[in-house]
Assembly symmetry: C2
Homo-oligomer: 294 residues x 2
């Protein structure tokens, strides 16, 4: 079975993603929005957005960011303006699979109306867990860069014990930090204790921040609030890994003179190649599973 | 027993070192060469080099770098030119202890001729092992910063299994890297294997570099030579932690387009506060042991 995949836009991660997809047999890859890329891909078709023959596409890969709320695609390696209108989705074959990193109301509605299947990759547990590795390494890099003490022996509090929080807690503990984790359910608190770390119920966080050098937030809600920040020592640092706008009262941290960083997506910054491979591995798996079913 | 300590020059590490020494009871601290420091120390005497009353000094702390071969002291926080002549050492009391980071022929001869006891702190096993922690964290920071893949799952070779090599191997393994260590005696090779890492006899290094993403040298001799570099994959990186000039054939690495970094002393860069505390703890220990003997 041969397949045709169109990659429409994407950042540095997608260079490795495309490289990995090239290794699949019987696969034609068409690139849109990579025209400004200095080191091009050999043997791949690059076309203008309007030249895409939509009825030939088995899969479409959108950037990690998907589209904005009007359907515009962010193209890092192109000046082309690409807009995926609701009509555009209607002209796709019903069997086309659309991959995106994250999704939003526009994409969900547009694909639903056109009866096209949408796969938001970053929602998947496997992708989120694999991505948590470069995220944790990015947090490590920042902690080393932005403090004048070692991670080793530092008192670290991680807020949240989800897919990212677990990895971050593991890695900082492995580097010799004294790690506490703040979480809000008894299962998580028990697991934190089992792992040899200190468990802090999230509503008691502010009682522990006076003994904290590095506070790492992974919760996309305001947990690092005024009360929590108030007791931090002056040389402490807050590293907020949650998506915008983070979970930190940045204004209050600034007022207190506490260094606080909202990191944004770290995998694309610290390890675009690994991050691209993570996405490629999952996309390949989905396509191969599908192939074997049909 | 009261004591007087003169700190003559020093870098960012010495700010924490001085802060720690201030906590000792019955201790007078005199600073020379910190006049350009913006945030000064309260309650400490700052004097010009020529104003030092040498016969009152129990200890003198020189910078990590000690002196050059003419006795000149590098003062980071001052424009003063400070030169410790051989005559200067003769005017010290015979009971004065002189601490330095590293030593050289000049310092050894000058103190020997004056019968003054010299303590080169970085020669001590405890200081070297404690310092290897910020060194390893610096190597981690560089590996994350200068590659587009994660440390996790990377193939890492550490050359040397001394005080620094052991720490580096431990930390990279803790981050999920596949770590091999190249060493040259059977005791080390056995220990490397016991730790679950791959042992490589140093003369076989070149047979393994084709499967290496991150090559970290800790040996102050040319072990990362042309033969070893020749087989490295193009996206590999060499991080050389050995003192100048390192243990890498940098010219050949450049010729092959392999990224190679001679890091210099990392503790002062990534964790001056921790590095200062390490020195202070050892100096305090030596002074207290001495106090209890007299």
């Amino acid at each position: 079975m041969s397949r045709t995949i169109a990659v429409i836009g994407g950042d540095a991660r997608y260079l490795e993603l495309i490289r990995q997809l090239q290794l699949m047999s019987d696969t034609t890859i068409i690139l849109v929005g990579f025209d400004k890329l200095e080191q091009g891909f050999t043997g791949l078709k690059q076309v203008e957005f309007n030249e895409l023959e939509l009825n030939t596409l088995d899969s479409i890969i959108l950037p990690i960011t998907g589209t904005d709320l009007e359907g515009n695609v962010d193209t890092v390696f192109s000046d082309q303006k690409i807009k995926l209108t609701k009509e555009w989705f209607h002209t796709l074959e019903k069997s086309t699979k659309v991959f995106t990193g994250i999704t939003n109301d526009y994409l969900v509605e547009a694909t639903k109306a056109a009866r096209i299947s949408l796969v938001p990759l970053l929602d998947r547990d496997d992708v989120a867990i694999y991505n948590s590795i470069p995220t944790a390494e990015g947090a490590i890099m920042m902690a080393i860069e932005h403090t004048d003490y070692t991670i080793h022996s530092s008192r670290v509090i991680v807020t949240g014990f989800g897919r990212v929080g677990q990895t971050v807690a593991n890695r900082f503990a492995a580097l010799g930090a004294k790690v506490s984790v703040s979480a809000n359910n008894i299962k998580e608190l028990a697991r934190i204790t089992e792992m040899g770390l200190t468990a802090i119920p999230i509503d008691k966080l502010h009682e522990h921040t006076d003994k904290c050098d590095i506070l790492i937030n992974t919760v996309p809600a305001l947990v690092v609030n005024e009360k929590a920040i108030q007791h931090l020592p002056p040389n402490a640092i807050i590293i907020d890994l949650a998506s915008k706008p983070g979970g930190t009262d940045f204004d209050y941290a600034k007022k207190r003179g506490i260094q606080a960083i909202l990191t944004g997506s770290l995998p694309s910054i610290v390890a675009p190649k690994t991050a691209g491979k993570i996405l490629a591995d999952v996309i390949k798996q989905i396509l191969l599973d599908e192939g074997s079913l049909s």
